[in-house]
């Protein structure tokens, strides 16, 4: 273990942790905006109560998303300063644009939404949550563009004098095909988490909650269920599209995802393989013929490049002495876990919708227990997706341009990195406990009461308690 390893662990831990909150923020802000819109259009009080109820869960989560995001931005300079020097022109500009265009929007309008319930006219208050939600989605776009550039660098050249990557086409950077494929995939993945959250919480209340609240929660189960199912479909379709682009620009990642060593035509997809620990030998496998060729290139007979062949090719291209393959068991299993947990969430949402159709309340306790995992399954799928995509890029930090080991901060000592790694891990663990407890408390609490609206004369009553809950 050296400072590089610790810095990598820190990045992995802080990023995966950050991304537990991000999908909820992206998905929930949109779902809450939709709920509030339905209330605005129908004036059905049920939707107002759902808006406020899920809005509160969203905000408990949002706070954590924000603060862990600040760590991400600082971390590049702190732990990866040579990477920062190399890519500032390209990668840094995306972060700066994200802050200016998206993050301000999201944070400012969320403050307005939280405190503006009775301060702002209804249509303007509705617009604030939409502005915040659009902010989160824009934010996701710019961050994914930054990440996609590391997977498939485009729109730049290397300045021979400084050795730094310099941007030469912002258009190419923003329309990187990896970005265009990753954006819908991540967006639908986020909606699966938020939809799953709505279903799980609402279903719990159908079983255990107060009778007078059940009609509203029944509506929420249906709403969240459809969101989850449609999002699952969207994730699958966009994932397939993404797989084909990945096979094209990062063939090693696809080969590693499959543990495919030899270049193969009509390649089978491995459902499950028990291999030796280093992943070099297959002990037992269940496979679907031709599926990998179809997933990778849309043609069941297509040739999929293998790890060994790619290693030879990269050695010739980038130099000898480097293992250009990622850790095969990690990529192989994270890829499968992503797919498995994602499909399980979609299937469970479908089952829930079926069993609650036409106003039924299934007696099955098993369904209840299963459905309570609905926000967790897509979260796990999301995490494994990121672990796969980031670990699959190794040993590259910027594919074909910079090795991970070359990007680390030279001036930061082992003791410093260990200090920060330990600090973040402990702090994040403690905050996770607090956050989950709060979420459960408020999820169980049920719908808020809605007080009758004050007459217009009273609107300026300075002595009326403000409507907020800090």
């Amino acid at each position: 273990m050296d400072a590089l390893d610790v810095a990598r662990w820190q990045f992995g831990v802080t990023t995966v942790y950050h991304f537990l909150f991000v999908p909820m923020t992206i998905g929930m802000s949109l779902l809450v905006a939709i709920m509030q819109t339905i209330w605005y259009r129908t004036r059905d009080e049920k939707w107002l109560r759902l808006t406020k109820f899920f809005g509160k869960l969203f905000l408990i989560n949002f706070a954590m998303g924000i603060v862990t995001g600040i760590v991400q931005e600082f971390q590049f300079g702190m732990n990866w300063s040579d990477y920062s020097r190399f890519v500032g022109d390209v990668f840094g500009s995306l972060l700066a644009i994200e802050a200016l265009v998206a993050f301000f929007l999201e944070s400012t309008f969320l403050g307005l939404w939280i405190f503006g319930w009775e301060r702002l006219p209804k249509p303007i208050h509705l617009a604030t949550i939409w502005a915040a939600s659009i902010g989160t989605i824009l934010s996701m776009y710019f961050i994914l563009a930054a990440n996609s550039w590391m997977q498939n660098p485009v729109g730049f050249h290397i300045n021979p004098d400084t050795g730094r990557a310099e941007l030469n086409s912002i258009g190419a950077l923003l329309t990187n095909k990896v970005t265009l494929a990753t954006f819908p995939h991540t967006f639908f993945g986020a909606l699966m988490v938020a939809g799953g959250m709505v279903v799980a919480v609402a279903l719990w209340h159908l079983y255990r909650g107060r009778d007078d609240q059940k009609p509203a929660f029944r509506t929420a189960v249906t709403f969240g269920g459809w969101v989850t199912i449609l999002a699952t479909a969207g994730t699958l379709i966009s994932g397939d599209f993404q797989g084909k682009i990945m096979t094209e620009v990062q063939p090693m990642k696809m080969a590693a995802a499959e543990g495919l060593y030899e270049t193969t035509s009509s390649a089978p997809f491995s459902l499950l393989t028990i291999g030796s620990l280093d992943g070099s030998r297959e002990v037992f496998a269940i496979t679907v013929p031709d599926l990998l060729s179809w997933l990778g290139k849309g043609d069941i007979h297509a040739e999929i490049e293998g790890i060994d062949n790619l290693q030879e090719q990269y050695t010739a291209q980038y130099g000898a002495g480097v293992n250009y393959a990622p850790i095969i068991p990690v990529t192989y299993w994270s890829f499968r876990m992503m797919i498995f947990f994602g499909l399980a969430a979609g299937a469970l949402a479908l089952l829930t919708l079926w069993m609650t159709r036409k106003g039924r309340t299934p007696a099955s306790r098993l369904l209840l227990m299963a459905a309570l995992t609905l926000p967790i399954l897509p979260l796990i799928a999301n995490s494994f997706g990121w672990i796969f995509t980031e670990m699959g890029r190794q040993p590259w930090l910027v594919f074909g341009e910079m090795l991970t080991r070359d990007g680390v901060s030279r001036s930061v000592s082992m003791a410093e990195v260990i200090t920060s790694f330990t600090t973040f891990t402990l702090l994040y663990a403690a905050l996770a406990v607090v956050e989950v407890k709060l979420l459960l408390k408020y999820a169980k609490g049920g719908l808020p009461e809605i007080h009758p609206e004050p007459d217009s004369d009273e609107k300026d009553d300075e002595n009326r308690p403000l409507a907020f809950a800090y």
Partner: protein, 347 residues
């Protein structure tokens, strides 16, 4: 003026925005135990910044992003060099933000007390450490020929930088007290006004000493002398306005003071961005730390279009929440603690 210089100025503007806006957020957090004598008062104190602190914090994220994009070498050297102080700042910002959001979400006293501690720690620490960090940047730190910081942690703790840190704390405290006097009514307003006056005197002594030291020892010119003098005058004006009960003008005064103090540092720094105390040849300058012309051009367009929009909607936020608040605006604790009753809040 070339684009790199324009971005040096813009980053200065972003840090001015950050310290002017988060400055009073920090001050409000520091004053939480002093001005909030019971839970209801503490909620008044926190709610004065409730709708805005999150948007204010984004000024830092944007300044950091702009540094990364426009001056990658500066961003890399600074963030890897000031490693432990930045770690502490991050921890402070994390617990402060979570504290604002979570303290009211349970009724029990120990829970609230712990988050109050988090908010207080999270308000003092960044103010102090940003002051230390910026003073060190102006003073110059050991940087080698690879632009790597070689100084370690204790190199950052010199008298000048520590004075910078304490000055920043005193200025934020004053700024926060004046803001609270402006935004509250009743007893809290009276006490905030009194504390603002006292803290302001201390801040004035510290700020004058620090700015005089800065311009005399670290490359001040006529402009930086003039700017720091105006900063000092603005603080004097703020104290007079505060005494006269004109809180709006007092707040304008402390905002100008903090803003111009930051401008002074940037003026003294120009045309360097991070001087090397090891060898002047290793100094990071606007010219050798900046990114390429194309990136700067793109970023300039984005900044020219979006900065006014951001200023408009953030300004609007302050307008929406312009009314003073007092203890009678705070709903009963039960309404906050029990989710079923938190009703009106929605948040």
């Amino acid at each position: 003026m070339d684009l790199a210089t324009f971005w040096f100025i813009l980053i200065g503007v972003l840090f001015v925005g950050y310290f002017v806006l988060e400055g009073f957020d920090f001050g409000v957090g520091m004053l939480l135990p002093v001005l909030g004598r019971d839970d209801r008062e503490r909620r008044v104190v926190i709610n004065t910044i409730g709708p805005v602190w999150d948007g204010n914090e984004v000024w830092l994220i944007t300044a950091g992003g702009a540094m990364f994009a426009a001056f990658p070498e500066w961003y890399a050297t600074l963030f890897s060099g000031f490693y432990l102080p930045l770690l502490l700042i991050l921890v402070a910002l994390i617990v402060r933000a979570v504290g604002f959001d979570y303290r009211g979400k349970r009724a029990d006293a120990a829970w609230k007390r712990n988050w109050d501690i988090a908010i207080i720690f999270g308000s003092y620490t960044p103010a102090l450490l940003w002051g230390v960090a910026f003073a060190n940047i102006v003073r110059g730190v050991p940087i080698d020929a690879n632009f790597d910081y070689t100084g370690g942690f204790f190199n950052l703790l010199n008298p000048y930088a520590l004075l910078g840190g304490i000055t920043m704390v005193a200025l934020c405290l004053t700024h926060g007290a004046v803001f609270l006097a402006l935004k509250t009514e009743g007893d809290i307003r009276v006490r905030a006004n009194r504390i603002g006056g006292r803290a302001g005197l201390i801040a004035a002594v510290l700020a004058v000493t620090f700015l005089a030291w800065t311009v005399s020892a670290h490359g001040g010119n006529a402009a930086s002398v003039a700017i720091s003098a105006v900063a000092a005058l603005a603080l004097a004006g703020a104290l007079l306005a505060n005494r006269a009960g004109r809180e709006g003008w007092a707040f304008v005064g402390t905002a100008i003071t903090i803003g111009l103090a930051v401008v002074t540092l940037f003026t003294v720094l120009f045309p360097n961005v991070m001087p090397s105390s090891t060898d002047p040849a290793n100094t990071l300058t606007i010219a050798n730390a900046s990114s390429s012309a194309y990136t700067l051009k793109i970023m300039t367009w984005v900044a020219l279009v979006f900065t006014p929009i951001v200023l408009l909607y953030q300004g609007w936020t302050y307008w929406v929440f312009r009314k003073r608040i007092g203890v009678h605006h705070i709903p009963d604790d039960g309404a906050v603690s029990s989710p079923a009753g938190s009703a009106v809040g929605g948040a």
